[in-house]
Symmetry: C2
Subunit: 244 residues, 2 copies
């Protein structure tokens, strides 16, 4: 059987993941991986077509830890479980996670992660033609937020912001000066993520119950409104991941 093959494959990926987390993504070289598994660099090419292929495997490995809630919970909870779970994975593998945004992912693993999201949106009453788009919006937010958070894109603190604001005059950065010291408050990322989720869930709810906001104009088809109402504020902790 190719079973032993699969084992070696995942062993290689595991070493890559360890390397990435311990020494950063740039340290993930074929040579380093090879010595990690006790082989020659070229031996890896028996299991992966190229380094890119191997990195795809790494993406899949990380993606596999994103929870995939079954239809037991309400659609709100399911979306929350996915989102929070993905962010937790980002925190678990902070140096590897940014790979997800870098690579064009049409991996089977990715599809398996997306499916529960589709399901939840459908159950929220979102019309079929809008499901894919709304899912992209949702996962773009979750991924973008998590990646920005762990990769420091948001700025590693607020000091940078303050310094820049003071360096440039109010004429160049008027809004920064209007905001003033509010920008220097420490950011509660957990809270901000939850707030963003809340806003997105609201958007989903609206898309699922006929839409029709005060600003949406244009012709639309009536949606199959079965928007359920669920206890949204549950904080269902979702720490369900395999112990490596």
């Amino acid at each position: 059987m190719g079973n032993v093959r699969q084992e070696r494959r995942s062993e290689i990926v595991e070493v890559a993941l360890r390397l990435s987390e311990e020494h950063g993504l740039p340290a993930v070289s074929m040579r380093a991986i090879a010595t990690g598994v006790g082989l020659t660099p070229m031996a890896l090419y028996g299991y992966f077509r190229s380094k890119d292929d191997l990195l795809d495997g790494l993406v899949g490995r990380v993606l596999a830890e994103v929870p995939r809630p079954g239809p037991a919970l309400g659609w709100r909870e399911r979306l929350l479980v996915c989102a929070r779970g993905a962010r937790e994975v980002a925190h678990r593998y902070p140096r590897t996670f940014p790979l997800l945004l870098t690579r064009p992912v049409v991996l089977p693993e990715a599809v398996r992660v997306v499916d529960p999201l589709y399901g939840a949106l459908l159950d929220a009453g979102v019309p079929g033609e809008q499901v894919a788009g709304l899912e992209r919006m949702f996962s773009t937010f979750v991924l973008g937020f998590a990646v920005s958070e762990v990769s420091g894109r948001f700025g590693e603190g607020n000091l940078g912001t303050r310094q820049r604001r003071e360096r440039a005059g109010p004429r160049e950065l008027p809004a920064h000066h209007r905001l003033g010291e509010v920008l220097d408050l420490p950011v509660d990322w957990d809270a901000e993520f939850e707030k963003g989720l809340e806003r997105l869930l609201e958007t989903v709810g609206r898309a699922g119950s006929g839409e029709r906001g005060p600003f949406t104009d244009g012709p639309d088809e009536p949606a199959v409104g079965e928007g359920e109402r669920g206890g949204t504020r549950g904080r269902t902790d979702s720490d369900a991941s395999p112990p490596a």
Copy 2:
């Protein structure tokens, strides 16, 4: 004057940009850039401390083309101009743009792009403590969408989706099967982007006019930084929804 220096600097960045767009980001090597400007690789280090520094310059160069609308327009239009402008830049430099998400950007250029967004959100009546967070949500969507679009993260077509759906049984991807051929429809990215923007603008409008949606219920603490209501400068302007 350091003027001639600045000229050489931007000439170097320009060559890097051309290389990146013509042959892809991996082709942007110090050696290639150097021959592009007619110099030795090491000469570049007189203008940039390292390759990373040079790439930051490249990011700034791209960022500089994102429009920065003045306060003449209404806040809605301003947000739309920024968002659409950023996406246009992504389409103009599809192979370079993904750099923006890769690098931790606290560049002066980035701050200059963010400032109009802050201004627009303030004018929308968003309370000061929520401005930064809402801006991050907004720009995360715009950047994430644009990058995903040009880098093919969304899947370069729908064929992949279809094949995968058929490969895996309905038990493994139930929602995909529930959606059926809707997933195979060609995607109108322009329309989807506009739709996402519309939804976000709606969220902004709500945050700016008291918040409190139909689903944010529950006996919970006032979620995070939402201490006061409409504090700053309520509703400076209100404008009609723009033509898409």
